[in-house]
């Protein structure tokens, strides 16, 4: 509420001037008050008066606390609600706070003069005793947390390996023709991961090809070797960039989608429904997704190869004034079938990894909205980490083998 006044005076707070209902606005006229009076026979009389309104805040109970702490200590506390013109749960909150104070000091509370509705609410609030095990235990010590984190990491690794194993078994069932999945689902995932990914794959790879050519041209021109821009672009694109960029695009676009979809299915207990009907979720949900991505990724990669080199050619022809045919001949000399096959082979694995990361995070998702978000995020992170790591291994191995 803009401009709300907080006048924490002992006798109650001011009422916020901005208020939704006329009733709340009128409460400003007679704010909630608590008055304490030491009556005869060591009885503390607490008068509640005015219009009480939760939106305006709770009046301070400091006066009551002081009176309770005074010596000689009062024997009983009595409420007087005759001055109360309107009330809501703010009174209930204050009265229960005073009751708790009295309980601590072993002072009897007489609430008979409170309005009947208020007494009913107080009874309701204390009707169900607190469960002994309700409150969460205190946070464990540092070492215990470190240990738990280490055990969790180990369990997570084991779960990943188990998931990979299950996926492999599922793949075996598919080869034997015993896996249960719907061709329609496979076709839908293929459409989503293939054709519908083309626009972003085009844009990113064209721009990457363009950037490589441009940056390369600036350097190569110094040596009069601008003709080798075609070699640079062709080798970089076909061996590395096309499959890496496409893999990362698919991790962000499709891996997160898989995780979110499967995670939501898990929240809705759809995955349990599948397994209780004897349909392995691994076959029905994970297998089509892994197949679709590992089938579509090489196609996207070939497409990305072409688009990347087209980006390079745009710079070479448009900026460096090379002839298109010259660029084409230079490109053909630079790369062989082995380079193209390496890129395509990697893209199949990248597709598998992205699908694996997405499906694994989705299938092991927690049971609420936040968990679905975490699953999607971690699917993308895991997918990208796996892609880059695998690509690094490939770079070393192909170097040693001289491919």
């Amino acid at each position: 509420m803009p401009g709300a006044v907080r006048a924490g005076a002992a006798r109650g707070r001011g009422v916020g001037p901005v208020s939704a209902s006329p009733a709340a606005a009128a409460a400003a006229a007679a704010p909630a008050r608590i008055a304490v009076q030491r009556g005869a026979g060591d009885v503390l009389l607490v008068r509640l008066a005015g219009r009480w309104n939760l939106r305006a805040g709770l009046p301070s109970t400091q006066a009551v606390e002081q009176a309770l702490a005074a010596t000689p200590a009062p024997q009983a506390l009595e409420f007087d609600a005759s001055g109360l013109t309107a009330w809501d749960s703010s009174v209930v909150a204050v009265v229960s706070r005073i009751q708790a104070l009295c309980q601590r000091r072993e002072v009897a509370v007489r609430g008979g003069a409170l309005p009947p509705g208020l007494q009913r609410l107080l009874a309701l609030a204390t009707a169900v005793p607190e469960k002994a095990d309700a409150r969460a235990a205190a946070a464990p010590p540092f070492l215990a947390r470190v240990g738990a984190a280490a055990l969790g990491a180990w369990a997570g690794t084991r779960a990943s390996v188990a998931f990979l194993g299950e996926a492999t078994l599922s793949f075996g069932r598919m080869l034997r023709g015993t896996a249960v999945y719907r061709g329609r689902d496979l076709a839908l995932v293929i459409q989503d991961t293939g054709a519908q990914a083309l626009p972003i794959v085009t844009l990113i790879n064209f721009l990457v090809g363009l950037i490589i050519a441009f940056v390369g041209a600036v350097q190569l021109q110094k040596f009069g070797a601008a003709i080798y821009v075609a070699d640079l672009v062709a080798i970089a694109t076909v061996r590395e960039l096309a499959c890496i960029m496409t893999g990362i695009i698919m991790a962000g676009r499709t891996g997160s989608g898989f995780a979110a979809q499967l995670g939501t299915m898990r929240v809705n207990q759809e995955i349990e429904a599948l397994s209780t009907m004897g349909v392995p979720p691994m076959d029905f949900l994970v297998l089509p997704r892994m197949m679709a991505l590992s089938l579509m990724m090489p196609l996207l990669c070939v497409y990305a190869d072409l688009i990347g080199m087209l980006g390079g050619a745009t710079v070479a022809v448009g900026m460096l004034g090379q002839a298109p045919m010259q660029y084409w001949v230079e490109t053909r000399q630079a790369i062989g079938l082995g380079d193209v096959a390496l890129g395509i082979g990697k893209s199949v694995l990248f597709g598998l990894l992205v699908a694996l990361a997405g499906c694994m995070r989705g299938m092991t998702c927690g049971r609420d909205a936040a968990a679905v978000g975490e699953a999607a995020t971690s699917a993308v992170v895991l997918g990208i980490v796996w892609i880059i790591t695998l690509d690094g291994i490939f770079a070393v191995v192909t170097n040693i083998l001289g491919i």
Partner: protein
């Protein structure tokens, strides 16, 4: 609190439709202040759609919803928001925010619309949770408690701001008969002590007969309401066969229908 008997919610010639598909037409009824009012009807008849129209989540195809003397349907957004602050709503699922503890769930509207300090917000949130029998569960997350407790926590959140009018969509769906009975008692005692009007969507007959003051029956076949009144009277003197079948769980007319 004296129970004034003027109309709190008035629905006038309301027609609900999705595109060309008319869900219900010509609904006209009033909910009296401090009544417990049930919207009954078979599955898929549009009870929840009517509920969503009442709280302004759907716009009527025709007709109006009035709160007191304010035309809610025609009101500007700020008037609607101000009115909604006086609503307490629970949805079919518990709709608790899963990333917040119960105390934070109940405390969010308190922090937004009151001048309470954080400590006071926690105190009031704990009180509201105690009212629904969840004392000591302030720091639990919704996923850590049972479905029945989630329903009650949602109720605690709905009553956080001491609303004038409470809307419950199937509050006891999925609860066992005893929890469902306890929830009914809770709603009854909240109404009695806070004086709020309660509008409930339900087809739980025991709840309807136990706590309803007034109700309407939505009939899928004729796409409008075919009965309005106290459910016990409607059961004893059904105005038409569908109402009779509904209130007697499908018994043939005249066999079980006349049970007191």
């Amino acid at each position: 609190m004296a129970a004034e008997r003027e109309a709190h919610v008035s629905v006038r010639n309301l027609t609900m439709a999705f595109g060309d598909f008319v869900v219900m037409r010509d609904l006209t009824f009033a909910v009296r202040r401090s009544d417990i009012f049930f919207i009954m009807g078979g599955s898929g008849c549009g009870k929840s759609t009517l509920f969503r129209h009442l709280i302004g989540l759907e716009e009527p195809a025709a007709g109006e919803v009035w709160y007191g003397d304010v035309n809610f349907t025609a009101a500007a957004d700020d008037v609607r928001d101000a009115l909604r602050l006086r609503f307490g709503i629970t949805f079919q699922g518990s709709a608790l925010w899963s990333s917040m503890t119960l105390a934070e769930n109940v405390g969010l509207p308190l922090g937004q619309f009151t001048d309470l300090s954080p400590a006071e917000i926690r105190e009031v949130a704990a009180l509201k949770l105690a009212l629904v029998g969840l004392r000591g569960f302030e720091d639990h997350f919704p996923s850590e408690i049972s479905g029945g407790m989630q329903k009650r926590a949602a109720l605690a959140r709905a009553i956080a701001l001491d609303p004038d009018i409470l809307f419950f969509d199937e509050p006891s769906a999925g609860l066992d008969p005893i929890s469902s009975r306890l929830l009914d008692d809770l709603i009854l005692s909240l109404r009695d002590s806070l004086g709020a009007t309660v509008v409930m969507v339900s087809h739980e007959l025991p709840s309807i007969f136990a706590i309803a003051d007034d109700c309407i029956f939505l009939d899928t076949e004729v796409r409008t309401m075919t009965a309005h009144g106290n459910p016990r009277e409607l059961r004893d003197h059904p105005p038409n066969a569908n109402v009779h079948r509904f209130l007697t769980r499908g018994s043939a007319a005249g066999v079980d229908g006349a049970q007191p």
